[in-house]
């Protein structure tokens, strides 16, 4: 790992801006009520991720991060949203996202989570030697926010998006804490996510066949005889 260049203040601002935009998008996911806009936000997250990876790559002159950025773009901006839109069409879902917990309460909870994450990430940031070490907290916060979305939503598809959002956040944290994971790992994770999405897609059809709905509450009773 080469020592970081003396960072240009503008570049630093850029990275910080991208990070905060990611955090905003995570909040947006919590707040949005329409399924299609959820997928769009997910695609937006992919773009933000690509940009911030590029920025870190250029700032730290870590060339392998360029490839990471490329993969991120291909998978998370093009491929996965395309699959998700296709799923929405095939399943004829346009309607509202149904929440178990109402949106304002979720947002308040989300705020608490952000505070928690930043407190938590403080000491890690001091240990890290990357140019963008201040953003580890952002990654952690978006991860927990995505998790919160998985918990608080009712439809199966929102859970998948939450899961993908968690993966995005994880990737973001990795890049900011240690300039990314080794290439092999990143590729592996990317393919895992892809396959996972396919499998989810197949399952949705099966589930709808069985329960005539994608509402999780129909699956709840499976274990209770």
């Amino acid at each position: 790992m080469s020592p970081p260049l003396p960072a240009h203040p503008l570049a630093n601002y850029l990275i910080q801006f991208l990070g905060s935009a990611l955090l905003m998008s995570a909040f947006a996911m919590l707040a949005l009520r329409r399924m299609t806009s959820l997928v769009r936000i997910f695609a937006l997250q992919g773009i933000l991720l690509t940009l911030s990876t590029l920025a870190v790559a250029i700032l730290s002159s870590e060339t392998h991060l360029l490839f990471s950025a490329l993969f991120t773009f291909a998978f998370k901006v093009l491929l996965l949203p395309a699959i998700l839109f296709r799923l929405l069409n095939r399943l004829r879902i346009q309607g509202e996202v149904e929440a178990l917990v109402n949106v304002p309460s979720t947002m308040v909870l989300g705020l608490a989570i952000v505070v928690f994450s930043f407190t938590l990430a403080g000491p890690i940031s001091e240990l890290a030697s990357t140019v963008s070490k201040g953003l580890i907290g952002v990654g952690l916060a978006s991860l927990l926010l995505s998790f919160l979305m998985m918990i608080s939503r009712r439809k199966a598809l929102t859970q998948v998006i939450g899961f993908l959002g968690m993966e995005n956040a994880l990737f973001f944290s990795a890049i900011n804490a240690t300039y990314g994971m080794p290439m092999v790992v990143e590729l592996g994770v990317a393919f895992d996510v892809l396959v996972g999405t396919f499998v989810f897609g197949i399952f949705f059809f099966q589930i709808r066949e069985t329960f005539e709905s994608l509402d999780l509450k129909h699956m709840d009773t499976t274990s209770m005889e």
Binding site: L120, L144, I151, R154, L216, M219, T221, S223, M224
Partner: protein
């Protein structure tokens, strides 16, 4: 304790010139013969005889290898390729292993000869698998005796546990068999876990640097380990409980009276006669070999001693109230293992308080009893098998009068019964007498508590022996004497030639052990010498072949040969005198029938009524449920069930605790996906918090 290297540490390379090569050959041979037999027996059952003979031949070779090892006192090691990286297979046949190989080979030979005839009744579909399991079982037990590192030991130990489980559940279509098998497997795993802990502790206290990495797990480097007292105590407890679970140490014994009886009789004989001894071997190996006498404390002998005494009493009391002959024998195994534990406890106590002679006698008596038990208990299990076969009943109350119908096997069983009852000049008497002699040395100990503990142990031993005599009077009297109690018993017929030969082999073994105790003790002394340190000048025995004098220069002596001679003269006299001088006049039966004009089997003691006084006197040892008929009942019934109190007071509460815990855990399982996600979310937050602020 460091052992002195053997006279010839390098094994010679010519095949079978040394005992270890022979033993390894038998190990391999048993494995191959088992697999071969598995395939051949699927074609034809005729081959059962020859194949059993082949296995039995392996047993004879093994026994001879054991004897050679004992006579020479050889200590042979080999390192075989394979195993874990950095830990190849270590095998070793030292005198202790040789002794146990002698038990294994000697007893297995008779059992295998017997099973050649007995197994003809097994359903054809079960025969190949049964044969394979038997062969593997024998091979794995041999592996346990030969192992010289923890890995080899555990591998063979686990194979032994699994294969013996398979033997237990041979008749797996009966539910009680499956339950017994499960219980056995559970206990076996519990034991293995504790044994592994003992090995790990020993390996971790090996002097660092001497054996890097995995080679700390060889027994050689464990012998050099110097654990502090706490760790040594941990090893002691883990080994005692771990091996105790296999040996039937109370309260871990509950599987034994369930599992041993449900196996086919030859398998029961292997389990009770031989497999229990692997546990004793393990205990001796860990206590005296690996941990070393120097790391034991004499107070540790007291719990072992008392546990052994209580086991003996408890086992024989429960044996007395059983009416299934195999269950009776299984409980009697607990008694005998208790006697072994008693000897081991005495040995630790004496040796560590400076009375090595008494300690050595106690240990020698233990080993003597181990080989005795292997022979007579196998014989009796075979006998029980023939009884069950002949009458088709698992209940002594369905037997009776069998001696008249099965004179040969009945005669053999009588020998076994006399031996196990500890009557002179049987072999059981020799070992129990020796043990008692050791216990009577309590006067030389200091400390009242210690002395009374030893004497209490001795008293328990005597009580248990006397009760054992009563128990086997019941076994033989109800089963073989009197009038037949069922149609099956009336139509019983004697067993096949192969079964007779197998039983005769065991009888011969018992007689040899009974009549040449001096030679046998010489071998046992060989086996013990490396464990107990320097050879003793005034070692037990050995004043000529005739007289056994365990505590020279003055002490009790015993000569089985002379005793047998006296009995041979007195017995005919005793039979003759009534004939010559008794009144021979006959009398007529009176009208009212109280002169026993007619006798029916209902007039005899039943299995239950025979034990009634015992149930009465020792009521605290049993959990009895009695159902007495009401005065007005139309069809009055009397019912009595006797249960092992450990079920009610130990195992069922544990079971209930686990079930209620599982019930609590079930509440967590709501079945809602969102709730599950909340659980992982909460856990994540919690862990992160702990990571950050703790």
């Amino acid at each position: 304790m460091e052992e002195s290297p053997s006279a010839s540490p390098l094994p010679s390379m010519t095949p079978f010139s040394d005992p270890l090569d022979t033993s390894l050959f038998v190990l391999l041979g048993w494995g191959i013969a088992g697999v071969l037999g598995f395939f051949l027996l699927q074609r034809s059952r005729i081959l059962l005889g020859p194949l059993s003979l082949l296995l039995a031949a392996g047993g004879i070779i093994l026994a001879s290898s054991g004897i050679r090892g004992l006579v020479r006192g050889s200590d042979l090691r080999q390192v075989l390729p394979g195993g874990l990286p950095g830990l190849p297979f270590h095998v070793r046949q030292d005198p202790l292993s040789s002794f146990f190989l002698l038990i294994l080979g000697g007893a297995a030979t008779g059992i295998l000869l017997f099973s050649a005839g007995y197994l003809k009744s097994l359903p054809p579909s079960r025969l190949p698998a049964y044969f394979l399991r038997t062969a593997l079982f024998l091979a794995s037990m041999e592996g346990v005796f030969l192992a010289d590192d923890a890995y080899v030991f555990m591998v063979f130990w686990e194979i032994m546990a699994l294969v013996s489980y398979a033997l237990v559940v041979t008749e797996s279509d009966r539910e009680e068999v499956r339950n017994a098998g499960f219980l056995y497997l559970l206990m076996a795993h519990f034991g293995s876990l504790l044994i592994m802990v003992a090995f790990f502790v020993l390996a971790s206290h090996e002097p660092s640097g001497l054996s890097p990495g995995l080679s700390a797990f060889t027994f050689e480097s464990m012998r050099t380990s110097a654990p502090p007292t706490g760790a040594a105590l941990l090893v002691f407890i883990c080994a005692l409980l771990g091996f105790g679970a296999k040996a039937g140490l109370i309260p871990l014994h509950v599987w034994l009276p369930e599992a041993h009886p449900v196996a086919p009789s030859p398998a029961s004989a292997l389990l009770s006669g031989i497999m229990l001894k692997t546990a004793i071997y393990g205990i001796l190996r860990v206590f005296f070999g690996l941990l070393g006498l120097g790391h034991l404390d004499y107070t540790w002998g007291v719990p072992v001693l008392l546990a052994g005494g209580l086991m003996a009493l408890f086992g024989i009391l429960h044996a007395l109230v059983q009416s299934d002959p195999k269950k009776l024998l299984a409980y009697s195994s607990i008694e005998n293992i208790g006697i072994l534990f008693l000897g081991i406890g005495l040995a630790i106590l004496y040796m560590r308080s400076g009375h090595s002679l008494a300690g050595e006698i106690a240990l020698a008596a233990s080993l003597y009893h181990a080989i005795n038990h292997a022979f007579f208990k196998s014989l009796l299990f075979m006998g029980a098998g023939t009884m069950i076969h002949a009458t088709g009943s698992h209940d002594l109350n369905g037997m009776g009068g069998l001696l008249r119908r099965m004179p040969v096997s009945g005669g053999f069983v009588l020998v076994g019964v006399l031996c196990i009852a500890g009557l002179p000049p049987g072999n059981g008497f020799v070992s129990e007498w020796l043990l008692l002699q050791a216990a009577l040395q309590a006067g030389s100990l200091s400390g009242t508590l210690l002395r009374s503990a030893v004497l209490l142990g001795g008293a328990l031993l005597v009580l248990a022996s006397a009760l054992a005599a009563m128990g086997f009077v019941k076994f033989y009297g109800i089963g073989y004497l009197g009038l037949p109690r069922s149609e099956g018993a009336r139509n019983a017929h004697d067993v096949s030639a192969a079964e007779k030969i197998g039983m005769a082999w065991m009888v011969a073994g018992c007689l040899l052990l009974a009549l040449s105790p001096v030679r046998m003790l010489g071998w046992i002394e060989q086996a013990l010498r490396p464990l107990t340190g320097a050879p003793l000048s005034g070692s037990p025995s050995l004043t000529g072949w005739l007289w056994l004098l365990p505590l020279p220069p003055r002490g009790a002596t015993f000569s089985p040969v002379i005793l047998l001679g006296i009995l041979a003269i007195l017995l005919p006299l005793a039979l003759l005198i009534p004939r010559l001088f008794g009144k021979t006049s006959r009398r007529q039966s009176p009208v009212w029938g109280c002169g026993y004009g007619t006798r029916t089997f209902r007039m005899q003691d039943s299995a239950g009524s025979f034990a009634q006084p015992i149930r009465h006197f020792f009521a605290n040892f049993f959990l009895m449920k009695r159902h007495l008929p009401e005065p007005g009942e139309k069809r009055p019934t009397f019912e009595l069930t006797v249960e092992d109190p450990h079920w009610a007071y130990l195992y069922r509460p544990i079971l209930r605790l686990f079930q209620s815990l599982a019930g609590l855990a079930e509440k967590v399982r709501s079945g809602r996906i969102s709730v599950y996600l909340v659980y992982s979310f909460g856990t994540l937050i919690f862990l992160l918090t702990v990571f950050r602020w703790m």
